[in-house]
């Protein structure tokens, strides 16, 4: 039995690097410090849902084949394709991503990562207006106002609050745990009173105090308190909203208006409406006050902004809001990146080709035009003639019509798990879990690179993404060389 400390969790963009694993007989048997997602992965990775052997679709059915056969078939498809898409890359190492760039260039394909359906709009906006940001360590030690806008870290980045924001003890900012627990107790107390009231066990208080209970979302005293505060802005009451000091519920697709209204308010302009995006203006005034009066504020934002109407315009206005705020106090902004190494895929693609996603090599040099060279658009236009999917599941995450075209053309899937895309695949190659069975590098959401550890051996005969891609690349080059010889002979 060995205990391995400081393991990096290969799941979400928080990339917690304090996980402790107990290993027995080449298996993870215990996980310490991780969240529910982390435990589910480290204890479940060896489960029955793994792809056990390479497979090729023959007569409509996926049948087991040797690794050599699968790799050869994959290389053949790619070498013969005119306009293939190489998509995914967010749940694998930077080392594998780098070979991906080489492969895309070799076959003249389109290289795209999951950012395109995630924080692609954020990247577009950052390219337009820049981004004032910092590392999570800075936020942990200094931020006294934390705003989660259109994101639900409790569900998607479960330890984000505990490690980097409200519930962590920073050098200059205290943990907010205590006041949160008080709040939970207070609500529990209120629930008890309410149910006692319903059962008629206690007498009804006077009408006035009853009215107080009925007030929706009154500005809570915690927003006025000293020390760290959390504000959540979302279209529904998420788990994170439940924990926040203040929750603002916006109508769907109205974030842009609400943010512009806050911009007006922090410039001390009067609004001549009562509500913006379904939110009473007084509530927005509270938020504007809290923003202006903090010492170090941060806005974390998620898909609530990038996937709603306005898309990258929402990020534009968020960054503009920040620019205004920085005239009055100190504010930073950060996208809540989802997959553990989606940031890495943007970094690696940019460093190798100049562009972060949607890189088209079909003309022999990299070209980038989101809306044209991005995978969903190419699929919707029906232009691609083969797809390689690695470390992602577009079969489950792309809209139906895009998946339809992907399923119609030859589809190569490299993944440890049997997911929707693998079920639709024509060549399926199982891979080792990077961060468990293979090592590598990943970038945290704040662009800090961290090492991923290999803690157990992969199952017999299963290679890492990096090795599989290298072999496919070699095979593609061999096929192309043979073709050249034939052409020259003729």
């Amino acid at each position: 039995m060995v205990v391995i400390k400081s393991v990096t969790c290969p799941i979400c963009g928080s990339l917690c690097d304090d996980i402790e694993l107990t290993i027995e007989n080449n298996e993870v048997v215990k996980v310490k410090n991780g969240c529910a997602l982390c435990e589910s992965k480290f204890l479940g990775y060896k489960g029955e849902h793994r792809i056990k052997t390479p497979m090729i679709r023959k007569n409509g059915k996926l049948v087991p084949v040797s690794l050599d056969e699968a790799i050869h078939k994959a290389a053949e498809i790619l070498a013969n394709a005119n306009y293939p898409i190489l998509y995914g890359w967010s749940s694998t190492s930077c080392e594998a991503q780098r070979i991906g760039v080489e492969l895309a260039e070799e076959i003249g394909g389109v290289l795209d990562n999951t950012a395109v359906v995630c924080h692609g709009p954020s990247i577009l906006s950052v390219q337009e207006v820049g981004i004032p940001t910092c590392t999570l360590g800075q936020i942990r030690h200094r931020a006294d106002l934390i705003i989660y806008w259109g994101c639900d870290p409790w569900s998607a980045h479960p330890r984000h609050l505990e490690r980097y924001t409200a519930f962590t003890e920073g050098r200059f900012e205290q943990s907010d745990w205590k006041s949160y627990i008080q709040k939970v107790k207070a609500t529990a107390g209120k629930k008890k009173i309410d149910s006692a009231l319903r059962r008629g066990v206690v007498k009804r208080p006077k009408a006035q105090s009853l009215r107080q209970y009925e007030l929706v979302n009154p500005p809570p005293p915690t927003l006025m308190k000293e020390g760290r505060k959390i504000i959540v802005v979302d279209v529904r009451k998420s788990m994170t909203a439940e924990m926040a000091d203040y929750f603002i519920q916006v109508e769907p697709n109205k974030d842009y208006e609400v943010m512009q209204a806050i911009r007006a308010l922090i410039r001390d302009q009067e609004l001549d409406v009562d509500k913006v995006g379904g939110v009473p203006v007084e509530y927005l005034e509270e938020v504007a006050d809290a923003m202006v009066n903090c010492n170090f504020g941060v806005i974390f934002f998620g898909m609530g902004l990038t996937q709603s109407a306005g898309k990258f315009r929402n990020i534009d206005v968020a960054i503009s809001l920040l620019r205004d705020l920085n005239k009055r106090t100190k504010f930073v902004i950060m996208p809540m990146r989802g997959h553990f190494n989606v940031t890495g895929s943007n970094v690696v693609f940019t460093w190798q080709s100049g562009y972060p996603f949607g890189v088209d090599f079909s003309l022999g040099y990299p070209r980038y035009n989101p809306g044209e060279t991005t995978s969903v658009d190419i699929l919707l236009r029906g232009e691609s003639d083969a797809t390689l999917v690695i470390a992602a599941d577009p079969g489950a995450t792309f809209p139906r019509r895009a998946v339809e075209h992907m399923a119609k053309t030859p589809l190569i899937v490299i993944d440890p798990h049997m997911n929707a895309t693998a079920m639709l695949g024509d060549v399926v190659i199982p891979s080792a879990f990077v961060g468990i069975e293979a090592e590598g590098t990943a970038y945290r959401m704040d662009h800090v690179p961290l090492p991923l550890k290999k803690v157990v051996e992969p199952p017999q005969g299963i290679l890492s993404d990096e090795e599989i891609l290298r072999r496919i690349l070699e095979e593609v080059r061999a096929i192309k060389a043979k073709k050249m010889v034939k052409v020259e002979a003729a």
Binding site: Q249, Q307, A309, F398
Partner: protein, 133 residues
């Protein structure tokens, strides 16, 4: 009065159950249960005359899918339904990328109607149905 159909706005997104199911493996029962669910406002469910865990048919101009309706656990969100990311949600979301590569996963207009007798398709059945593979 009980209504036959309800017009709503569809949002798709993450839930912790979907996250745990995804890490278990996307062919797992956990993933199926997490993603073939639609969260609705309690009052909206009353309008349709349905109880927790009743099957409903959710339709948009882009497709329709049968899901299990579950009461949204926190706060109210009248006129909004929430489906966790997954092949069920993506069978019906708006695919237009407004020329920037990103489909409209949040904010699609939709309709919900009770469908207590219609079955929820498993992932395999759903894929077979949609893509023939």
């Amino acid at each position: 009065m009980v209504q036959q159909k309800l017009r709503v706005t569809l949002l798709t997104g993450r839930t912790i159950e979907q996250g745990v199911g995804k890490e278990q493996g996307k062919s797992s029962q956990e993933y199926f249960e997490a993603c073939s669910t639609v969260y609705m406002d309690e009052e909206d469910m009353k309008k349709l005359g349905i109880k927790n865990n009743t099957n409903v048919l959710v339709s948009t101009p882009h497709g329709s899918v049968v899901l299990k309706a579950v009461k949204h656990p926190r706060g109210s969100m009248p006129g909004i339904i929430y489906i966790p990311y997954g092949p069920w949600a993506n069978a019906i979301v708006d695919d237009s990328t407004t020329s920037i590569g990103m489909p409209s996963f949040k904010g699609t207009p939709a309709e919900v109607e009770p469908a207590p007798d219609k079955p929820i398709l498993s992932m395999e059945e759903l894929l077979k149905n949609l893509y023939g593979k």
